[in-house]
């Protein structure tokens, strides 16, 4: 019910992510990066998009060492749900909670574009309620996933053009257990018909249910 939306210096999408949680019937609470504990009653954690610490060094690298991340690790170890979107995905990879790393896009430029995604693994709590194909925007500069697909649980792939140049067209991965997931596209930008798509709602419904 209560989703902790982490906030780092440079987080940008925390408000739209929180709105998406609410739209899916959940309750969102912001948690500051310097906290060492998650609020009592936290049932799921959301790491939003943005440019934490200006993407300096490597995107997500500095944020992944923030005090709150130990609490996130414990939450994940106990089987709690953890979702990382865009920069949040980069943070989870840098923190070692998800396999692989996010490298500069093949275009070597920022890319902001509506894309289609195929659900590669409907077996996780996050992907269970998703349509087989989603229309969701990507917007990032370092979104090319690099890693070994054989020891990652690939949950989302780009349908059609592999815009960013990910290995195996990976758009999102989960840990083995499926309770930690990260994706580069922005489902929080796809929960409102006025914005052109509601395909992302299922992901937040999972958080809201947790």
């Amino acid at each position: 019910m209560s989703v902790a939306v982490l906030r780092f210096p440079g987080s940008l999408d925390h408000e739209s992510a929180a709105r998406a949680v609410t739209a899916a019937g959940g309750e969102a609470r912001y948690v500051w990066h310097a906290e060492e504990e998650l609020p009592a009653g936290t049932t799921a954690v959301l790491l939003p998009g943005g440019f934490s610490y200006g993407d300096h060094l490597r995107p997500g690298a500095i944020a992944s060492r923030a005090p709150v991340m130990d609490a996130v690790r414990r939450h994940a170890a106990e089987g709690g749900l953890v979702l990382g979107i865009c920069n949040g995905f980069q943070v989870l990879c840098e923190a070692g909670l998800l396999p692989g790393a996010l490298r500069p896009n093949a275009t070597l430029s920022f890319v902001c574009r509506q894309v289609e995604l195929d659900v590669a693994d409907p077996g996780t709590p996050f992907t269970r309620d998703l349509p087989a194909r989603l229309s969701v925007p990507v917007k990032n500069h370092d979104g090319a996933w690099f890693g070994d697909p054989s020891d990652a649980r690939v949950v989302l792939r780009y349908a059609g053009e592999n815009v960013l140049g990910s290995v195996d067209a990976v758009a999102g991965v989960a840990n083995r257990e499926g309770n930690v997931m990260g994706l580069m596209p922005h489902p929080e930008e796809a929960v409102d018909p006025l914005l052109g798509s509601v395909d992302g709602l299922g992901i937040f419904a999972a958080l809201a249910r947790a």
């Binding site: 060094l57 490597r58 690298a61 500095i62 060492r65 840098e94 692989g100 790393a101 490298r103 500069p104 896009n105 093949a106 070597l108 090319a144 690099f146 890693g147 140049g165």
Partner: protein, 78 residues
Amino acid sequence: MTRVVVTVMPKEGVLDPQGQAVRGALGRLGFGDVTDVRIGRRIELQLTGDDPEGQARRMCDELLANALIEDYSVAVEG
């Protein structure tokens, strides 16, 4: 006060799109003799306290480099 230079380069086998792009651009500028370009990071640290090399290595392991995709080297310039 010691000056330590940390060099972080993309691992062999990790493709380096930036390096490739720069190589292409150099070619278009008429620099035909470039057969390879790799681009990495140079981090110059000013350190006080002892064992600067050890300190710098710990910084690399904890933050400055990502072992999955990058190799690092440390040089103490005294």
